[in-house]
């Protein structure tokens, strides 16, 4: 390789200069277009941030529902406009707080949820018509979405108008993050149950947020991040269409979650090229009539993968750049990892700095003044097209192998990504991939005490007491009936949402409902590979 050649992480070669000629030769005029117009390269809305700035939605939640409730009120008071709920690992994997496997985990990496009562505590006094709530939940998403809807109804909100997002992207959990529960095909069936139910009953809610984020964090390059996410989104779409719902009835409610770290311009070209590609896929492959169906609505946040434990304050600077990338790429929602996130759940101080980073960008930098400020740049437009083509090619490679669901079930994609993660790590260790403070500009760090987010054992005990109390007070016969109904519906291959909603209303627990489903569906057996 010629030393002077420059390549992006995705493998695209970068010229020392881009001119009008590159633009004219490579980018059809219609592909750039106008904001709010197909193919939406310049943004999905005509006025973008002039009309509505990006939503700031930090990931938060810990300990008991009471603690999380306090935290949410604090965040709203501080100007956060959306909430993103973090759940603890037992909740994410469908276990109750009193399960043996949950020892030491209750309320540790997020909020503990066992029954509807916990949701009633968390969202008390929060105006769900104004604050949109995102639930970061996948394996047990059907239970938590059911709880959210039941809670909203109980508090007097009309679910027809309810907005918000459930992550509910199980396929990526098999690639990274790992909170799968059921076998792959049954897992996809449950995702589609939620999409189908919401399309009919909760039409403004986003029932899935397809995540390139975790795929990238697991070792994928930016092109693979988008390609795999789009293949996964298509898998959900194809299954939903089989239920007799038309593309325009649900495509506009699909949302995406993407990662930002690495080369500044590569990320921006990735987003602009992807927005156009997604619009083309929905219109050309699925014959959507509605423009909104073609929108790539996204949360694009600073990725933890770019942050380092070494010289952690540097992460504040990195995250500010990530925020700028996100805004220049026309994101709908933004979140940043906090500077201490490489080694702990964010402390309050670190979380506040992240929030302020986004607010400074929003209120001081004039980022909202004009739409798509980079539009027309020789470099950005040429590379947006090259990224679009590269992602399209990567998708074609996956589709040529069969389909993504099968490839994930067989562990093929995971294996390829894992090998890349190793190569990247090796590149950092050998100094080929520069990381300031890690492999260059290293400082002998003075010994200091790093502040960690505390874990309170007594709060876990409190959660256990609450759970015990509810189990004693609820109508246990009713709970059994509801669980039987879930099993029956699962056997009959019916949409499980209605029976799960009835069960959560009867205060059945996350673990009980998940176990009922496991009885019919079985459990995923992980393919061991590395």
């Amino acid at each position: 390789m010629n030393d002077k050649d420059v390549f992006w992480e995705s493998g695209l070669k970068i010229n020392p200069l881009y001119t009008k000629e590159d633009l004219e030769k490579n980018v059809p005029e219609a592909d750039i277009g106008l904001p709010g117009e197909y193919p939406f390269t310049r943004g999905i809305h005509k006025l973008m941030y002039r009309k509505q700035p990006f939503t700031i939605r930090q990931y938060a939640g810990f300990g008991t529902p009471e603690e999380t409730h306090e935290r949410f009120l604090y965040l709203i008071k501080n100007g956060q406009t959306g909430l993103n709920v973090a759940f603890d690992l037992p909740t994410q994997t469908g276990l109750d707080s009193d399960d043996n496997r949950a020892v030491g985990e209750v309320g540790r990496v997020g909020m503990a949820v066992d029954t509807l009562a916990d949701f009633e505590t968390v969202f008390k006094d929060i105006d769900l018509d104004k604050i949109t709530v995102s639930l970061t939940i996948n394996g047990s998403a059907i239970v938590l979405v059911a709880m959210y809807l039941a809670m909203a109804q109980k508090f007097g909100f009309n679910i027809k108008n309810l907005r918000g997002t459930a992550q509910n992207d199980i396929l990526k959990e098999f690639i990274g993050r790992g909170t799968w529960i059921f076998p792959v095909p049954q897992s996809v069936k449950i995702v589609v149950d939620i999409i189908e139910y919401c399309a009919k009953e909760v039409p403004k809610y986003s029932p899935v947020s397809v995540c390139g984020y975790h795929i990238r964090e697991s070792g994928a390059n930016p092109v693979q991040e988008m390609a795999y996410a789009f293949c996964i989104a298509k898998a959900y779409i194809n299954e939903t269409l089989k239920r007799g719902i038309t593309i325009d009835e649900f495509a506009s409610r699909l949302s995406f979650n993407f990662d930002i770290h690495g080369n500044f311009f590569e990320q921006i070209a990735k987003f602009r090229g992807s927005r156009r590609l997604w619009a083309k896929i929905i219109k050309e492959e699925y014959n959507a009539k509605d423009d909104a169906s073609c929108w790539l609505r996204m949360i694009a946040g600073g990725g933890g993968g770019g942050l380092t434990k070494e010289q952690p304050e540097n992460n504040i600077i990195r995250s500010a750049y990530y925020a700028l990338i996100s805004a220049l790429s026309g994101t709908q929602t933004m979140a940043l990892c906090s500077y201490d996130e490489a080694y702990t759940i964010p402390t309050e101080k670190a979380a506040e700095i992240s929030l302020r980073t986004m607010q400074i960008l929003l209120y001081e930098m004039g980022i909202c003044d004009t739409v798509d400020p980079l539009g027309g740049s020789y470099y950005i437009e040429t590379m947006s097209t090259e990224m679009e083509n590269a992602i399209k090619k990567q998708m074609a490679d996956v589709e040529a192998q069969g389909d993504i669901v099968k490839e994930i079930a067989e562990g093929k994609i995971q294996e390829a990504i894992s090998r890349q993660a190793y190569q990247r790590e090796k590149g950092i260790q050998e100094g080929k991939v520069k990381k300031v403070g890690v492999n260059c500009f290293i400082k002998e760090e003075e010994v200091r005490t790093i502040e960690f987010h505390p874990y309170h054992e007594e709060n876990a005990m409190k959660q256990l007491e609450n759970l015990k109390k509810i189990k004693n007070e609820r109508d246990n016969n009713k709970v059994s009936e509801c669980l039987d109904k879930i099993k029956k519906d699962a056997q009959g291959n019916k949409n499980l949402m209605p029976s799960v909603i009835e069960a959560v209303k009867a205060y059945a627990t996350v673990g009980e409902i998940t176990d009922a489903m496991k009885e019919v569906y079985g459990e995923y057996e992980e393919k061991i590979y590395f």
Binding site: L89, P90, Q92, T93, L95, R101, A102, V103, G104, E105, R108, V109, E173, G176, R177, G178, T179, E217, S218, G219, T308, K309, E310, A342, Y343, T344, I345, S418, R419, A421, Y422, E425, K426, Q429, T449, I450, F452, Y455, E526, I528, F530
Partner: protein, 126 residues
């Protein structure tokens, strides 16, 4: 010389497996014999596996912050079965917990930010 057989395990509910797999790749490249358990194994399952594959050493990868609880469980399980197999821990481990983990009985604990090279070198000198 016999190749060292290393069992890498993911105990608890934590699904972060990028690190453990990167380490597995590096160890294989250095000629070690590596077996990986996959995610969400109980300590009992990990010890069963270690016996089953005749592992020379167990490595636990824990990123959720539950390392103290899980290390105590491993120590108890090994005692219960009278096993003297050496074990180490890596993942998201605060510096200040390294000594605590060793006090429980680990032969080594590698805190957050440890380079792959350091861990590989550790195995090389065993």
């Amino acid at each position: 010389m016999k190749r060292l057989r290393i069992l890498l395990g993911k105990p608890g509910l934590d699904g972060h497996d990028v690190g453990v797999k990167v380490l597995a790749h590096a160890l294989v490249e250095e000629g070690f014999d590596v077996v990986y358990t996959g995610l969400r194994k109980t300590i009992e399952q990990i010890v069963d596996k270690a016996i089953d594959v005749k592992a020379d050493v167990i490595g636990l990868s824990i990123l959720s912050g539950t390392h103290i609880v899980l290390c105590q469980q491993l120590k108890e399980e090994l005692n219960k079965r009278d096993l003297l197999i050496p074990w180490i821990v890596g993942g998201n481990i605060p510096d200040e917990d390294v000594e605590k983990i060793k006090a429980i009985g680990a032969d080594a604990a590698f805190p957050t930010g440890t380079s792959i090279e350091t861990v590989v070198n550790y195995f090389k000198q065993l």
